[in-house]
Symmetry: C2
Subunit: 333 residues, 2 copies
């Protein structure tokens, strides 16, 4: 039994075949170990396609690991396009010396996350790089989903008066990773919110078609996503600071480190811009789901300065929210 | 104008938006910078899906670079399933400090290779890791193609008496990379054979449907692919050593370094097992294409020892060919 990944595990010979047969094939129930997989396809119309590489450090963190992240992140990207996620591919770049136990744990997380989200991993690839040329494990997942006819979620559909809905509390993923990376422990302990959002989106689209756009505020956080909405729609996004839930642990950690929770990455919440007439009902339906239990209307699209995000503070003041130049925390996904 | 990749280019803020807008979007004519892309889809039946990560070192080599490789490799994986490649995704993991000029060159190669192969890159992602946690650039491409009804290429279809066709000379890619990596120059200079094989496969499938299986001998080379055919079909693959073309440069370099060209990676040739009745015509048609100009029947499926590869040498002897345990040359793709 090998304990650590070796260069030979990436070079096409017997060692690689064994690694795939023993670890990857069982995790994904792959029917063959070929380079391509052929699957039945019954739908015409439109498909959504996405890709994401995951380089998070450390690869185990409170509430998850790079494996669950690599499934949920890509499922969520498809979901934000209004697509029903069906198939994923998974490409692995392993660093020589990576403990095989870690790989096993990560693959198991992927298996569970894929089952939870109802998607299938149907093709994979493994490469190995020399020690010091990678960082344990990088995973790329690409995803394919089906988009219902007539559905076209886009910031271009945003109109003044629309409501802005946030599905849950902010900052958990980024701060959980940050704490783990720096060996800091906050009270209460911060757990990543990483989870698939496709069921929540199904409920939302089953409730109304008057949703303009959906987006999950990952890298760059809620602030960056709102700024993207503002730029891409041309309108002003006006949000109420006290309606955005920041868990006490995140609040404290951000204060301590001088970070703004609005810029911290999330992996299990979404922002939606919706027609005002449907916003109330939508929030009620969202709250009946696990991922949307804390959904709330947090703001609206206003006639304020074009392409801006205005944050109304509890004291009655307001401040402009911009995109950061770089980012607060590298490698949180 | 930035000269080197910085961590901020991966963190979701303005720097990342600029990098994508200035470099990635023009290369792939992306319609939006969103996480998912929605495209029209008119086909039902079956689709082929594949993924491959490219970690080749060095990322520029004689005859190509990691960009052209990342397009051709994935196009070829789809082609080997008998699929017509349509869409690709591209995920980039950049190392802090990578020269932006290099990235520009690689993206340009991808653009040209995609146009040559007739595929579209429709979704992308960029991550940046700290200096010393990557190696310049890693690229993952996933691909989607359409498989014609009734076509089912598989080693399970292989029968005794079938002919084995090789589409061109062996060993060029691996030895070109090896030479570049070690600063060695061979005469004549060795150039990688990296190229898309989808047109060649189109011609082949247009000529006959009596093709059992196609596979491109990349990592592990021709020897490993033949061994895979032998194991997966249960039969003996008998090939004539003197019918396998090894270019003089590759021959000399392998002799010097003690390598067997049959195990060296290729990126622009394929092995086909076909019904004997169609083999002659197929080779003639293949020779009318650029990628198949040197196609030849190099052996046949025999009643020899099960699951083996037998190499008949010029002197009338024969030797068994096995899979290597690890590989000869790490990171050649």
């Amino acid at each position: 039994m090998i304990e650590r990944i070796q260069l030979g595990h990436g070079s096409g010979g017997r060692m690689m075949h064994q690694l795939i047969r023993d670890f990857f094939a069982p995790a994904f129930q792959l029917r063959s170990l070929n380079d391509s997989t052929v699957v039945d396809w019954t739908s015409t119309g439109r498909i959504a396609v996405t890709t994401d590489s995951y380089v998070i450090s450390p690869y185990f963190f409170p509430g998850g690991d790079i494996g669950v992240l690599s499934i949920c992140g890509t499922v969520n990207d498809l979901s934000m396009a209004g697509a029903r996620p069906l198939y994923l591919t998974a490409g692995f770049i392993l660093e020589e010396g990576m403990p095989v136990e870690d790989l096993k744990g990560i693959l198991n997380s992927m298996k569970i996350a894929a089952a939870t989200a109802g998607v299938k991993v149907i093709a994979g690839d493994t490469k190995v790089v020399e020690k010091g040329k990678g960082d344990g494990i990088f995973i790329n997942t690409a995803g394919i989903g089906i988009v219902e006819d007539g559905l076209d979620l886009s910031p271009a559909a945003i109109r003044p008066g629309d409501n802005i809905i946030l599905s849950g509390p902010v900052g958990c993923h980024g701060m959980a990773v940050m704490a783990e990376r720096n060996g800091i422990s906050f009270e209460p302990k911060i757990i990543s919110d990483v989870r698939p959002l496709n069921r929540l989106v199904e409920v939302m689209l089953g409730t109304t078609k008057d949703i303009r756009v959906l987006r999950d505020p990952t890298r760059g956080g809620v602030a960056t996503t709102l700024k993207e909405f503002a730029i891409e729609s041309g309108y002003c996004m006006m949000v109420q600071e006290d309606l955005i839930q920041v868990p006490p642990g995140v609040q404290g950690a951000c204060a301590l480190l001088g970070l703004d929770p609005l810029y911290v990455a999330n992996e299990g919440i979404l922002l939606a811009v919706v027609a005002p007439a449907v916003a109330g009902e939508l929030v009620r339906e969202m709250r009946n789901t696990a991922a949307g239990a804390d959904a709330a209307i947090v703001g609206e699209v206003s006639g304020g300065p074009k392409q801006t995000v205005l944050l109304k503070t509890g004291t009655g003041g307001s401040r402009l929210i911009d995109m950061l130049s770089g980012g607060q925390l590298p490698r949180i996904c």
